[in-house]
């Protein structure tokens, strides 16, 4: 079956609107993706017909809400090919997942003089939690360098792994460069030294098929809103044995089995890490988003986006004065660029006027900007509903930039 992008577009009501009198060309999917009608309907139905608190009520609505929420967890488990739903912890997003691991596993296993290894293309969310941990513990953050194409230098990575290395945390797909990192190989290298690895999948899950057991990662995090789901919901996957041995993070309701003023017994997995009433609607909405993505087929989405990426790379390369930032051999749908003599902010404003929504700025990866000696980039990032015509709209809008700044 061929991928019918026009039919896909019909599933996303937001794409029907105009911006500044022009059809919306939404190319900011790495920031957040739009939501299909089925996800929106699921949220409306949940609040209209099922809203209740979960895991406690004996009444019908509570049972229904609990069932749906746990069904969503099972959908995530199958989507990632995790071994069990016990390994799927609902969190607010990838950022919270990383913080959870840093504050529980990290605090227990990283001590003075130890080292945590990350890459030079990490999002701030995969830098700062480890910096905080290292500062607290007197440990050291080591950074794997990248080359001019935005690819990790595996030799340097190998050299950084040593007896002091206690943890590795790596981005799967770079939000600013689009690079798909060879995380499978990097996990294997770390495991040879007994070092566990967290993979930040915020940008990979929507664009590649991810199999956590094939990768053999110890932890994996992603955010629902980049996967066509609601904001405020995300997932931490962790290997059962690791999660089981970890202390809880936040204390509160739902994460306990019994509480007295003398002693609390913690709940079983994954509830031990889910204190308080969670984002129930968000979890159920994420389940609907996964259904949607499965319906299209992750591989079909990946193939469509790859074709667009190649087209976009060709077309943008023809724009005078344009330089692509991030030219790795293995890339997902991110086109980051700078234009000679025009600051990315000005590009962003002019493109917006043409109906083209992109992101400009440092994309929460200031070290990457420093690495390439630029203050910011303009970034077009692709999703399942983007078309060649939209790439053409982007390049036409870039002509307007040239007109204004001539």
């Amino acid at each position: 079956m061929t991928y019918d992008v026009q039919r896909v577009r019909e599933d996303f009501p937001i794409l029907r609107q105009t911006v500044h009198g022009r059809p919306l060309v939404y190319l900011d999917n790495a920031a957040t993706a739009q939501k299909p009608q089925s996800v929106i309907d699921t949220l409306v139905r949940y609040y209209t017909e099922e809203n209740a608190n979960i895991h406690r009520g004996v009444h019908l609505l509570s049972q229904r809400a609990t069932q749906e929420y746990e069904d969503a967890r099972a959908k995530v488990q199958r989507f990632l090919n995790a071994a069990s739903t016990e390994e799927i912890v609902f969190v607010r997003g990838a950022t919270e997942g990383i913080n959870l691991v840093a504050q529980t596993y990290g605090r227990r296993h990283v001590g003075p003089g130890d080292e945590v290894v990350i890459s030079a293309m990490e999002h701030h969310s995969n830098i700062v939690p480890w910096q905080m941990l290292c500062e607290e513990k007197g440990a050291r953050l080591r950074v794997v360098p990248i080359n001019d194409d935005g690819e990790i230098l595996l030799d340097e990575y190998e050299k950084l792994l040593g007896p002091k290395t206690k943890f590795v945390s790596l981005v799967h797909v770079s939000n600013a460069l689009g690079t798909i990192n060879p995380v499978g190989e990097m996990i294997e290298m770390a495991h040879r030294r007994g070092v566990p690895v967290l993979v930040d999948g915020a940008q990979s899950v929507p664009h590649l098929g991810v199999d956590v057991r094939a990768l053999d990662c110890d932890f994996f995090v992603f955010s629902g809103h980049k996967l066509y789901g609601p904001t405020g919901i995300g997932v931490l996957y962790g290997k059962r044995a690791l999660l089981k041995a970890m202390p809880p993070w936040q204390g509160g309701g739902d994460m306990i089995s019994s509480v007295t003023f003398e002693k609390t017994t913690y709940n079983t997995l994954p509830y031990k890490f889910e204190a308080g009433t969670p984002n129930i609607a968000g979890g159920i909405g994420l389940g609907a988003a996964i259904d949607y993505v499965n319906g299209l087929g992750v591989d079909a989405i990946a193939a469509h986006e790859h074709e667009l990426l190649e087209y976009g790379t060709r077309e943008l390369s023809k724009v005078p004065g344009l330089r692509l930032i991030g030219t790795a051999r293995h890339k997902a749908g991110v086109l980051s660029f700078v234009l000679e003599g025009v600051h990315p902010h000005d590009i962003g404003t002019i493109l917006d006027e043409e109906g083209v929504a992109i992101r400009t700025g440092h994309h929460c990866v200031q070290p990457v900007m420093q690495r390439f000696g630029i203050p910011a980039t303009a970034r077009a990032s692709l999703g399942c509903y983007n078309t060649r015509e939209e790439i053409d709209a982007l390049t036409r809008a870039l002509d307007r930039v040239a007109e204004v700044f001539g």
Binding site: D346, E353, G361
Partner: protein, 160 residues
């Protein structure tokens, strides 16, 4: 496109391309740095005061056309002005770019050439670009220089 032309007026494009007083000032007795952490823009403003009068003023840094032109025009407009006059102009400029001023006369005497920034008010996301150099100047004059960012204080909170 017309609003865009309103934003990117020739004077602004010219000052972006050839910023005036774009240098350090070895004789500076006041200095402050400003950052916009959202986009990585940064500016350093140098002042040489003669009593209450701005004898010389310059800037360095990197940023978009709006922030660069704003800094550049600020230096050309403020040279020779007193501190009190500078603060009045800042207030007028602030009102201009935030839309706090209803009708802006092209020949507004207080604003002078700064009136070319009237288009900014149609672009709320760009107000911070236009005002970064001014906040930095304010800090250099008022507090003897410290780092300011667009993401602190009431000004930033109100979206200025």
């Amino acid at each position: 496109m017309s609003e865009l032309r309103e934003l990117y007026q020739e004077v602004i494009l010219d000052h972006n391309k050839r910023p005036r007083n774009f240098r350090t000032l070895p004789e500076a007795d006041h200095m402050a740095e400003g950052h916009n952490p959202l986009c990585g823009d940064n500016v350093t403003v140098y002042l040489q005061m003669d009593g209450d009068v701005i004898r010389d003023i310059s800037f360095q840094g990197s940023g978009c056309a709006i922030s660069k032109a704003s800094a550049s025009l600020m230096t050309t407009e403020l040279k020779g002005k007193t501190q009190a006059e500078a603060e009045v102009i800042f207030q007028r400029f602030h009102d201009l770019v935030t839309g706090g001023m209803d009708d802006v006369q092209e020949d507004d005497e207080t604003l002078g050439k700064l009136a070319v920034f009237s288009g900014v008010r149609e672009y709320p996301a760009r107000v911070k670009c236009a005002s970064l150099a001014w906040h930095t100047l304010h800090s250099a004059l008022d507090e003897g220089g410290r780092t300011v960012t667009t993401e602190e204080g009431d000004e930033a909170a109100s979206g200025a």
